[in-house]
Subunit: 233 residues, 2 copies
DNA sequence: GAAGCTACCAAGCACGTGCTTGGTTCGCAA
DNA sequence: TTGCGAACCAAGCACGTGCTTGGTAGCTTC
């Protein structure tokens, strides 16, 4: 089961214990790229910014600020100050504030997609794959895996319709993973598309109430609860 | 069941078929107030603006604009123009733009609460009551019953923390209805609070994808689907 | 070592925005 | 008639904001 990312990456001979993105275990066949490989490849393709570059730091900082204060209440001066440059210099890297938001959303999407693809590949049964998806999306929102992930939901309306369309194409490749998992899942889910939308809303809304630290309910348990609701054993 | 309400009618001796808000049927005991009565009472208490007053029109118009364009992208000039006055005149009614948002949220909450209370009272079994709640919240988002309801979700972050706290108190009285319904529901829902939060997210998210007009999936069917997921028969 | 490019600075412009201020109209009550 | 307050107008102030412009340090390349 290969997922989304077409991969020209030839070998992954590095051989550490990262989970691989096609679930191809056993047998002598070539293994799939790891998460690091996937991300590195995206960088090589120019889809993701070079890590530690000013551009990447701007996007990460901006995503964090947008998530925290909202797009409208975040100024380009805030973003610039966050990475230690002046506000005017931002426009050497981006042509407008909105482009910053769009690019941040795109990078965040690619990042989350890579993580989820790998997690799904590392799971055996369809139900475990669904659990992995839920877990990944929750982790993206609440963990440190994909900082700024929430802007995809929170600031969607701050994007022009053209930008929305662009991000949507990437977003669709993320949703494609969910679709395949649902398709493989036989059971009571007679309408996978609807289920996905309900799950998506339920998960996104956790942003408003779930506090991972010091709560009785862990992120792990929350995943299981959501799985139990949408795919009863 | 009539919904949108102006009503000077103090008692409901007119005897139409509005549902009543305490489920008190049979016997000769005093009947509960109708939706109209509930709203009229709120007006009398000063919690809701006098219908057709400039203040009420400003709030309705503002709620609509906030829902459509977002709080930050809506100007006080937009709102004023919507009701046919000049921007400066707004500040005779409200002390700040944020107060407009807060008041709009409060009125919307009270409105939705009245509708849901009546709908729950008109339902017999706990499961039917849950269905009514789901239906009401969906109707508030997509129908014309409570125009601007979505701002409660969409523009929550545009409110200062003090304003959030004020709205939250009202919001809690709305959630109280859900809580009671869940409490009466015996079954597989071992964690009602969690279930409510998941449902809330799922329903709120429909704002992003559900289009009532001309779709195969009606609002009625959507309610049933959500009920089936969260409270399997 | 000249040329050229990238990344950034320093300063500020243009404009939209929330809100203020002083004044006017009009209904209502004594 | 007079007084008064609610509702609104007309004009504009103050300021934050996105973005522009002209310039410079430093690195690379031939």
């Amino acid at each position: 089961m290969t997922l989304i990312v077409d991969t020209t990456s030839e070998n992954s001979a590095s051989g550490h214990s990262e989970s691989r993105a096609d679930g191809n275990y056993g047998g002598g066949r070539p293994v799939a790229p790891t998460v690091s490989d996937l991300l590195a490849e995206l960088v090589a393709e120019g889809l993701l910014s070079e890590p530690d570059s000013t551009r990447a730091r701007l996007l990460t900082c901006a995503a964090g600020l947008f998530e925290q204060k909202g797009f409208a209440r975040t100024t380009v001066r805030d973003i610039a100050a966050g990475v230690g440059i002046l506000s005017g210099s931002i426009f050497h890297h981006f042509s407008s504030k909105e482009e910053i938001l769009r690019c941040a959303m795109e990078e965040v999407t690619l990042h989350a997609r890579a993580l989820m693809a790998a997690a799904v590949a590392a799971s055996d049964t369809p139900r475990e794959q669904l659990r992995a998806c839920i877990r990944c999306e929750l982790e993206a929102i609440h963990g440190e895996a994909v900082p700024g992930f929430s802007i995809l939901v929170l600031e969607w309306r701050s994007l022009s319709s053209e930008s929305q369309a662009r991000v949507l194409r990437l977003r669709d490749s993320y949703e494609e993973i969910w679709r395949k998992v649902f398709a493989a899942l036989d059971g009571p889910l007679d309408d996978p598309a609807l289920s996905r939308r309900l799950i998506q809303g339920a998960i996104a809304h956790t942003h408003n109430w779930f506090k991972p630290e010091g709560r009785a309910l862990s992120l792990e348990k929350l995943s299981d609860r959501i799985l139990a609701v949408f795919a009863p054993a």
